[in-house]
């Protein structure tokens, strides 16, 4: 199966979340467009549309109805809104195949917090994408002296941090002729890295990866440390002081770390006191920055010790 076939298969999986009539419309897209489609969008009273790299394109003329949006949620949750309640309160539903349905509409509150939607007005089905091989050139630099060195990935939002993190996790947790696979504990708070669905990762995160999803990062790090005897702990987006504290605690236990953080570059990161202290504490031995150059992503590795 080629990369293109795989992307088309992911699109076809996402299409299964649509009610029948809309499914037919979505299947009318050309093979080439199905391979690059990023999202399917449903807005009540407007035709179904697909988001392609060249922009959004309407599919058919029939307008999306309220019932179709409700059916979409039923399909996405397997007619089990209660099982996805926590995600729905955050505005999305994780689905089979690694897709994610983002929701909009009229919300209702309970005890001052968003409890759910009384009416759905629009939905966006994000199609999962894997980019195998993006970490191939990078891994020898992160794996030195026979071990993996703690690594922090830095990039602005949309820079490809999660994709790179997933690929490094996959490579680390999979044996190859030169080294055995490591036990990686993946703290996937928002379910974006492995897209766990009914206990199975929908995206490939390697042979020896244990996934703890939907758990706040500080709690997740402690839990996997106590229960899973990991060699590497991977987590996405360090944002709070609690996240930093958990990461430092794990590092003191002798476990290698792999994490991401939002920042334009190292200088941007060190300008923020929270991260400056973390970098000065030599928690991460490698810092990988992602830059977009001529439409391609470039990765740069630098020494993360001594405040970078």
């Amino acid at each position: 199966m080629t990369d293109m076939d795989m992307q088309v298969a992911r699109y076809d999986t996402a299409v299964l979340l649509l009610p029948n009539v809309l499914r037919e419309r979505a299947r009318e897209l050309t093979y080439r467009d199905r391979a690059v489609a990023e999202e399917l969008r449903l807005r009540m009273g407007r035709p179904l549309s697909v988001l392609l790299p060249r922009g959004e394109m309407e599919l058919g003329r029939e307008n999306v109805t309220r019932r179709e949006l409700e059916l979409l949620v039923e399909l996405a949750t397997g007619a089990s809104v209660h099982a996805s309640q926590r995600e729905i309160q955050n505005g999305y539903i994780s689905c089979r195949g690694g897709c994610r349905v983002g929701l909009c509409g009229s919300v209702y509150l309970s005890e001052g917090r968003m409890a759910g939607y009384s009416v759905y007005s629009s939905a966006a089905i994000r199609i999962a994408r894997e980019k195998r091989g993006v970490a191939d050139g990078l891994l020898p630099e992160l794996w030195r002296e026979g071990r993996f060195h703690s690594t922090l990935i830095i990039a602005p939002p949309g820079g490809g941090k999660t994709t790179l993190l997933r690929e490094i996790v996959r490579k680390l947790a999979t044996s190859d002729p030169s080294r055995p696979g490591l036990r990686v504990a993946l703290c996937d708070e928002r379910g974006e890295i492995a897209a766990l669905w009914e206990g199975r990762p929908q995206l490939d995160v390697g042979e020896r990866t244990d996934i703890l999803d939907a758990c706040p990062k500080p709690k997740a790090v402690l839990t996997v440390l106590r229960s899973m005897n990991p060699q590497v702990i991977a987590l996405d987006e360090i944002t709070d002081p609690e996240d930093v504290a958990a990461v430092e605690r794990a590092r003191n236990c002798g476990v290698a770390l792999l994490a991401t953080v939002h920042a334009a570059d190292v200088e941007d990161l060190t300008a923020r006191p929270l991260y400056r202290d973390m970098l000065c504490g030599n928690v991460f031995e490698n810092i990988v920055t992602i830059r977009l150059k001529n439409g391609r992503r470039e990765y740069q590795v630098r020494d993360g010790r001594n405040g970078a």
Partner: protein, 170 residues
Amino acid sequence: MRLLGAGLVILATGSMGLLGVSALRGRVKVLEALIVSLQLMESEICTRMATMREVLDMLSREAPASVRGLYRRASGGLAALGRCSFYTIWRMAVEKSRELRLRPGEIETLTSLGLSLGRYDVNEQAEAIGRTRKRLEAALRQAETERDRDWKLHAFFGLASGIFAVIILL
């Protein structure tokens, strides 16, 4: 020969009476089984946050045997999600489960549960399941009264009508 005929007539009508008794007992058993299965359903949804597919699959294996068919049909019907709503799938499963021999009011009670299942948060679903259970418990009490009151009647009329027929025919 006449005696043999008379015996067969009495046996036949007596069996009919016993069938009536068995139907009364069966109805009690089915209602008890439905109530137990709804308790299981509530625990699975509210405690384990299981999906409807998991709940229905579990009930079609582990619920009391007399009601497994209902859950098997509902579970099988989930393949039609997208063409129709969960409520429709549940309603059809209830309607097709004729072996339960439910009365119209009980069918309505069970059908309307489908309007809440999988659609709301756990508290709302727990309330809906609790309401359904209460109604079925009321039906169960009535069925038990009918069983205790009518089983002798069924047995007596079965035998008596046989004896009566024999007397007339002889």
